[in-house]
Amino acid sequence: MCRTLIGKELRDIKWKLFVAFLVLVASIVLMIILHERLLELLPADMSEIPFFISPDMFNNFRDFTNAMWSNLNDQNLPQIGSLLAIILGIGLLAPEIESGTITLLLTNGISRQRVFWTKSILAVGALILLLVVVGILVVPLSSAFGYSLRHFRIIPATLVAALGIAFVFSVSLLISLILKERIWSGIVSAVVFALWSILGFWEATRVFSPFYHMRARDYFYGDANFPWLAVVGFIAATIAVLLVAERRFAREEL
């Protein structure tokens, strides 16, 4: 790691992280504020709910803790978090290679490995930290509006989501190093993960979708233990993809 480079990188990504943080916190606050209002709108009898709302969703709306998980871990974190991960991934090295600014670092005595790992570790670390902080903030924010959570599994579940999103980051970074162009890298990454998420729609295939594992649904509902396998899987997959990306960057002709 290189301290000077860390300072520069933090400066480069701080606004992206800040905006994502604000959006996620705003979505939590909005969900808390609107919770009572949504309850009033729900029909009393399950037979009256529209066909596209499952009984699970219906129950999620009624229970505050479930509603928060449904809002954050089932929806906003995988979506907004993945979008942020793609933005960070494609913006990490490809634009610097494209514009030639990377040579300023490489011709001043920093190795490609050091540049790659300093940037990647910092981005992954900041991403995970931001998402976990958001998960933790659910507790005080709920209290501030007079609600309390029945249990705090939302916080460990957020860690699983954050690790899954780190995996999205690593794949986007690799795609950007292959395509070497920011806009196309963003489009391709988004399409890849949109298609990948489709696997989560069916029970037979959902185990192959990273988004299914990110949600840690069974753990949250108390139907399963903490998903260590998903955690180890996400960490291993992220490291593996980053190693491939680092090899790619080491061979890059600048």
Binding site: S99, T101, L104, L106, E253, L254
Partner: protein
Amino acid sequence: MSVIITRELSKVYGAKQAVCDLNLAITRGSVFGFLGPNGSGKSTTVKMLLGLRSPSKGSAQVLGFDSSTESELIGQHVGYVPELGNLYPQLTVQESINLVKGLRPSWDDSYANHLLTIFELPDRQRVRKLSKGMQRQLALLLAMAPRPELLILDEPSSGLDPIKRQEFLQVLMDGVAETGQTVFFSSHNMTEVERVADTIGILHNGRLVVTGDLEEIRHNVKRIRVVMANKEPLQLQNSVRKIEGEQGQRIVTVEKGLDAVLAELRAMQPLVIETYDLSLEDIFVIYAGGDAKCAAH
């Protein structure tokens, strides 16, 4: 002692041979002008020296470090000004200085401030708002302030107006005179190379067609105007680079053995025989005007 040594350094892009069997030895303390037309392979060579691109064949050593495996060490001892900007547009002048200063332990603050004053760079201005000339000056400041043993400049003054170019070269030469740095100066601008370089190499179609001491090359490469009484083709025993002209007047371009060629011509009892000195630009055209090609690989 040589600070840059290349051995059969070559680079191939698909079917195009960008650099072909380049053998260079640049001695410490010299200012080496690396000349060549656009697209002749100068920038590719520079990038291979810095380890930014890997050679297809051959090797390069810079300050004793292998450019393919020790580029990090090369970067710690070299100052580099690229042809195209490598500055972060979002940073201010001062932030750019702080960034490079943090990477280079040998950074000389007083020299950096001296250059900042000479160039009149506004330290709070963002790089994107600087004129092209100022951006080049900042790039030179960032390359020179760590007091590197070797400066590698790739078309450093391209896009500068004549006044800025003069200033730029003056600062460069002052710095070199003060520290005895070695300079590898790639350019296609003959005037500036003539002003700063003591040795040159001319690259054409990826091949090094001539290299050596500039004064020696100037001394050896001459044009001789000969007017003969007869109009028969001129046949010489001595090797010459080119014979041009028709009727009685011939222009003979010589690259070595001037005295022998003159003696041979005088023996033919010409009506007129005159020797002309050539400018670097003339010499460049002589060497870069041919059709040097790489052998097929």
